[in-house]
C-alpha cells in the first residue's frame, strides 16, 4: 500500500461529491492509501493567482508544507489543484528569490517550504505509476459498445513546460486509459478546446458558449458520452448543458469522470452517484449491460 496525501480540493467534495466516492473506492484497489490533511483551497489558479501572484504562491506553499511535514507526495483529482500545486511547487523549487519571499511569509505561521514532495494527478498517476496493463487486468466488466469522446482539459496538460503530462496538441494517455477499460474512443472536433470555466466569474454566458462547442463536436462524432479528468470541466459540461438551453437547443450528452468509468469496469456499484448527474446516464449504462 503506497500512501498519498489526498488533495480533494473544493469542487469535488462540495459540488460533485460522487466523484470523490469514485476516487475513494477505486484507488485502494490499486494499493493506494489516501490520507486526508487539513488542506485549504489549492488556491484557485484563476481567481487567486489573478488577484495576487505572491499570495497565490504563499497559500499554495502552505498546502505543500502540510504534505511535506507528513512526508507524503500529493495526489489530486482536480486539474485546477494539480495546476496550482505543481506550478507553485516548481516555481518555488527553481526560483530562490520567490522561495525566500514566500518562506518569509510562511514564518508567520511557523512553516517553511522545503521542496521535498511531488504532485500527482490521479489520471497521470494511473497511467505512469499503475500502468495500462495492470488496469486492464482488473477489468471485469469491459465498457464495450460505447463510443467515448475524451476531454483532457487545459490544466491537466498546460502550461506544458511545467505540467509535462502529455503532448498538448495530441494528448493520448487518457484515450489509452479509456481503451484499457474496453471502451472505444472517437476523434472529434474541438477535442483540445477549453471548457470555459475560467471565464465563468466574468461572464457566464460566454463560458457556456465556449463549453457548448465541445458538446457539438462530440455529438457530431456520435459519441455516447464525454469523459473528463477534472471536476471543473465536469461541471462545465454536465450542469453546463442544462444552463446552455438558454442559448442553444437542448442537448443530453452524458458526462462522466474517468474514475467513475474505471469503477464500473472493475465491477463497483456507483448507482447512487450516477443519480446525481444532471444529464441522465442511464442510456449509456443500459448500452453497457445490453
Amino acid at each position: 500500500m503506497s500512501k498519498y496525501a489526498f488533495f480533494v480540493g473544493c469542487t469535488i467534495p462540495y459540488r460533485v461529491p460522487f466523484i470523490e466516492t469514485s476516487l475513494r473506492k477505486t484507488l485502494p484497489i490499486f494499493d493506494v492509501e489516501l490520507v486526508d490533511l487539513p488542506f485549504a483551497c489549492c488556491p484557485d489558479p484563476g481567481g487567486v493567482q489573478a488577484f495576487d501572484s505572491v499570495a497565490w504562491h504563499t497559500l499554495g506553499a502552505r498546502n505543500l508544507c502540510l504534505a511535506e511535514e507528513e512526508g507524503l507526495d500529493i495526489l489530486t483529482a482536480c486539474s485546477g489543484c494539480f495546476e496550482s500545486l505543481k506550478i507553485i511547487n516548481t516555481h518555488l523549487k527553481n526560483d530562490p528569490d520567490l522561495k525566500s519571499k514566500v518562506n518569509e511569509h510562511l514564518k508567520d505561521v511557523d512553516r517553511e517550504f522545503k521542496g521535498t514532495i511531488k504532485i500527482n494527478h490521479f489520471a497521470e498517476f494511473l497511467y505512469t505509476e499503475i500502468g495500462i496493463d495492470k488496469i486492464a487486468q482488473k477489468v471485469t466488466n469491459p465498457l464495450s459498445g460505447i463510443k467515448i469522446a475524451s476531454h483532457n482539459g487545459c490544466h491537466f496538460l498546460k502550461p506544458t513546460d511545467i505540467m509535462q503530462v502529455d503532448n498538448p496538441e495530441l494528448p493520448q494517455k487518457l484515450d489509452h486509459l479509456l481503451e484499457a477499460l474496453g471502451a472505444e474512443t472517437v476523434p472529434y472536433l474541438n477535442k483540445l478546446a477549453c471548457c470555459g470555466a475560467g471565464t465563468r466569474t466574468t461572464d457566464m454566458d460566454a463560458a457556456l458558449k465556449i463549453a457548448h462547442e465541445k458538446i457539438v463536436g462530440a455529438e457530431l462524432a456520435n459519441a455516447d458520452a464525454l469523459v473528463t479528468v477534472c471536476p471543473t470541466c465536469y461541471v462545465s459540461y454536465d450542469i453546463g448543458q442544462r444552463l446552455m438551453t438558454k442559448h442553444f437547443e437542448k442537448t443530453t450528452l452524458p458526462v462522466f469522470f474517468y474514475a467513475e468509468l474505471l469503477g464500473l469496469a472493475i465491477g463497483l456499484d456507483f448507482s447512487a452517484g450516477f443519480k446525481m448527474h444532471t444529464i441522465k446516464v442511464q442510456e449509456v449504462l443500459d448500452k453497457l449491460t445490453a
Partner: protein, 165 residues
C-alpha cells in the same frame, strides 16, 4: 489614469515580456474565448502593451478578465511569449488599481472566511451523507487569515469593497 512609479515599473516588465510579438494572431486564432466573444482578443491586448497603452481600458472587464487561463496561446506563440502569464500579471495590476470583477471579490472573501471557494451548502452536505463520504478535516483558519493579511490580500480586498460601495 495615473499610475504610481511602482506600477509603471511593472508595466515596463510586461513590455519586456511581449516585445517580440509581431501580431501574427496565433493567440487569438486558438483562444477559446475570442472564438465566442470577439471583444476579448489576446492579440489586441499584446498590441496595447506594445504600444505602451496604459489607459484604464486595458484592465477593463471586457479585456483581460475574460481570459480563461487555458495557456493555449502560451503553448503555441511562435515567439515564445507566455501570453497567459502576462495577462495574469495584468490582472494583478488591475487589482492594485481596483479594477476587478465582482466575482473575484466574492471568491477571495469565501477563501478568507472558509479557506475554500465552494460553499458547504446543506444540499452538498446531504449528498455527502447519502454517499457515506467521510468528513474532510477543516483548514486552520487563523493560518489562512494570517497569510492573507501578510501578503496584503486583506488590504486589497477591503480597498476593492470600499470602491464598490
Amino acid at each position: 489614469m495615473t499610475l504610481t512609479t511602482e506600477l509603471k515599473e511593472e508595466f515596463k516588465d510586461l513590455y519586456d515580456k511581449v516585445k517580440l510579438c509581431y501580431q501574427c494572431g496565433t493567440c487569438a486564432g486558438g483562444c477559446p474565448v475570442f472564438k465566442q466573444y470577439s471583444s476579448f482578443n489576446p492579440r489586441r491586448v499584446m498590441e496595447k502593451l506594445l504600444a505602451g497603452d496604459i489607459s484604464a481600458e486595458i484592465f477593463d472587464e471586457q479585456q483581460i478578465w475574460y481570459c480563461t487561463g487555458c495557456y493555449t496561446c502560451s503553448t503555441r506563440c511562435p515567439q515564445g511569449i507566455d501570453i497567459c502569464h502576462v495577462i495574469n500579471d495584468m490582472k494583478n495590476i488591475a487589482v492594485k488599481i481596483k479594477n476587478a470583477p465582482p466575482g473575484i471579490i466574492t471568491e477571495m472573501t469565501a477563501i478568507l472566511e472558509t479557506g475554500i471557494t465552494a460553499a458547504k451548502s446543506t444540499s452538498a452536505l446531504r449528498k455527502r451523507d447519502k454517499l457515506e463520504l467521510p468528513e474532510i478535516p477543516p483548514p486552520d483558519m487563523t493560518e489562512i487569515q494570517k497569510l492573507m493579511e501578510v501578503t496584503g490580500v486583506i488590504a486589497k480586498l477591503n480597498a476593492l469593497k470600499e470602491d464598490a460601495k
